[in-house]
Amino acid sequence: MRARPPLPDVIDAHKIIVVCGTGGVGKTTISAALALGAALRGKRALVLTIDPAKRLANALGIDGRLNEITPIDLDAIRHDEPKKTGHLDAMMLDSKRTWDEVVCRFSQDEETRDRILTNAYYQRAAGTLAGSQEYMAMEKLLQVHQSGDYDLIVLDTPPTRNALDFLEAPSRMIAVLQEGILRWLIPREGRFSSARAGIILFGKGQQALFRLFERFTGAEVLSGIAEFMGAFAQLLDGMRSRASDVLNLLRSDQVAFVLVASPRRLALAETSHFHERLSEGGVAVRGLVINRVRPPLALRGHADVPEAASEALPKRIDDLEWNAMVDEVWTTYQHERARQLAEAQVTEELERQFGRGPAWVEVPEKEAAIHNLETLTMLLPHLQ
């Protein structure tokens, strides 16, 4: 049987690691740990995340939000070998701020730029338009990759329901903006004073439609949308070419996808579905991290656990308290064993599904929270 590649080898052979997985499996923590491990091996590493919950900041022991690239001080955990050259930066992406940067970059003039930045619909769309987080993550990824400042970028993907959202959402978002603008709301040159002055509509049907629509949203709303769209139309070509650059980058051999999965039975179907969709999309998973595995009980794998406590633990005639204690300890043991056996089955199933191609590591559940560099370091031996 072919040996699996070690995870650090997979990571060191690539420029970008995309960490993906279903929600709540610990992607952010694992991303931070992978980047930390690479930094300690001497790499210039960056971990990039979009996480409204400040989780990365937390794992790295930094208070507050990271909106900019923030260097992480590694001296505290590398006392034995302070001469190593590697370093770690962290960045928590602020999606709205990245949108603003994109608007600034692709606007053809200051007037357009300001018209967009101050538009109420832009401010709203920048936060809520489907796919905007994913687009902005890619935009940032390309920016830092092209800067050449890093040997390794670990990208923690936004939580998505669909495995390929991360790859597909950006171009879908641009298509939506583009087609929506072209087909329905063609802005006229110049000023946008009122809704109908700002929009050329094809056909009487659509004019009637907009009058109706206006009646229900209010005239202000439509003119605001028209203004936003009109100004925004100019940006789209630039955005689209960036999006296709990133897609090409992500499909290149500089990039490896690492999947973080939970060993819980409830999560198995979701992980399998996630994996299927990735394969359909032509994305090969190069590494698998099974996260928060329950620590092995003694005698793991022995199926011959006696049913009754009395066979393993001595009962005592007339000592009710002792016997109650023994029963309870035994019940706890049975329950924990049942859970662990269920997890072992899930892990076997995942091994079957992924085969021996990808690197494979199992990270045990920690009894203490990972809330600073020291505790994050405790994960590193398990990611070898």
Partner: protein
């Protein structure tokens, strides 16, 4: 303090994977077993409630789960369609504009329509009377005494609760504004609506719960009824420390399953202690009831476990 079941609407909110659906199911069942008619409104289209009760899918129209307990599965697209068809008066018009695969997401993104209509649908459900009358001022007994909303995961859930105010801010006048104000007033109403936060007894979810409570109270003016800490590790019996020491010494010598059982219990005890610290932390920082749900051993969850959990809610009155 007002009883949990005196609300018209309870919004169950928490991060992904903490057990929101199970908690929503338990609250619904608690209401039903207390003699009220309850409706569980699922906002993620997953039909979890129907699965728990081994029932056929309830769909957007809703359906029964058990005595006095119904469920409905609110999909964002269904809610947008229902609202717009009603607002625009003509289905053909809706089909023309919103069935377009580019227009729909664009309008949704720019106006936040899907979040607004999803929570708006909850208001619709609140308006229904048994007589068939419908509206904010309709009279007669309610079709459902309590509506339990199984909200999307925290970030998206908060966006949904923010949607009515956000729409009011951008429209300022007109029918859409009026409608948004009705929804906002309902979810901010102290008499009618509260949020139940769900968390696991782990550091990060607890921290997020505290943050969410602050946002709800300070930014959204939505009250928090309490917190349910789900999947608490089991508590030990009242053994005397001397007996426990004796058992540990005894099993250290024998090894085997006896030793493993004691070691496992020790580990569960440590998990329990850590969980209890977090519950205390919540109690100190939030002046609301904190209720514990035990870790369950059966998967998938069925009506029996739900009943077991719902009985815990009796303590919360």
């Amino acid at each position: 303090m007002r009883s949990l079941l005196d609300n018209r609407i309870l919004i169950v909110l928490g991060k992904g994977g903490v057990g929101k659906s199970v908690v929503a199911g338990a609250i619904g069942l608690h209401a039903a077993t207390s003699g009220r008619k309850a409706l569980i409104a699922e906002m993620n289209g997953q039909e979890t409630q129907a699965a728990i009760w081994s029932r056929p899918h309830v769909g957007y129209e809703g359906g029964p789960l058990s005595d006095r307990l119904d469920a409905v599965s609110i999909t964002p697209s269904g809610a947008v369609e229902e609202y717009l068809v009603r607002a625009l008066k003509f289905r053909a018009l809706y089909d023309l504009v919103f069935r377009n695969r580019y227009i729909e997401p664009l309008m949704n993104g720019i106006l936040g329509l899907s979040d607004l209509c999803s929570i708006g649908k909850v208001m619709d459900l609140e308006w229904h009377r048994t007589s068939g009358a419908f509206g904010p001022d309709a009279e007669g007994p309610y079709r459902h005494d309590l509506i339990v909303v199984d909200a999307p995961a925290t970030g998206h859930g908060l966006a949904m609760l923010r949607a009515p105010q956000a729409m009011m801010d951008i429209t300022r006048v007109g029918p859409l504004f009026q409608n948004s104000r009705l929804i906002r007033d309902l979810i901010c109403s102290e008499d009618k609506c509260s949020v139940v936060l769900v968390t696991l007894p782990e550091e990060l979810p607890v921290m997020e719960t505290l943050e969410t409570a602050t946002v709800l109270r300070e930014q959204l003016n939505i009250q928090v009824a309490g917190v349910i800490v789900n999947a608490m590790p089991p508590e030990d019996g009242d053994w005397s420390p001397a007996l426990w020491d004796e058992l540990q010494q005894l099993t250290a010598a024998t090894g085997g399953h006896a030793r493993a059982a004691v070691d496992t219990t020790l580990r569960v005890q440590r998990r329990r202690e850590r969980a209890e610290h977090l519950v205390e932390d919540l109690q100190q920082k939030l002046a609301v009831p904190i209720l514990e749900f035990p870790e369950l051993n059966d998967h998938p969850i069925g009506p029996q476990s739900l009943l077991q959990l719902s009985s815990r809610l009796k303590a919360w009155t």
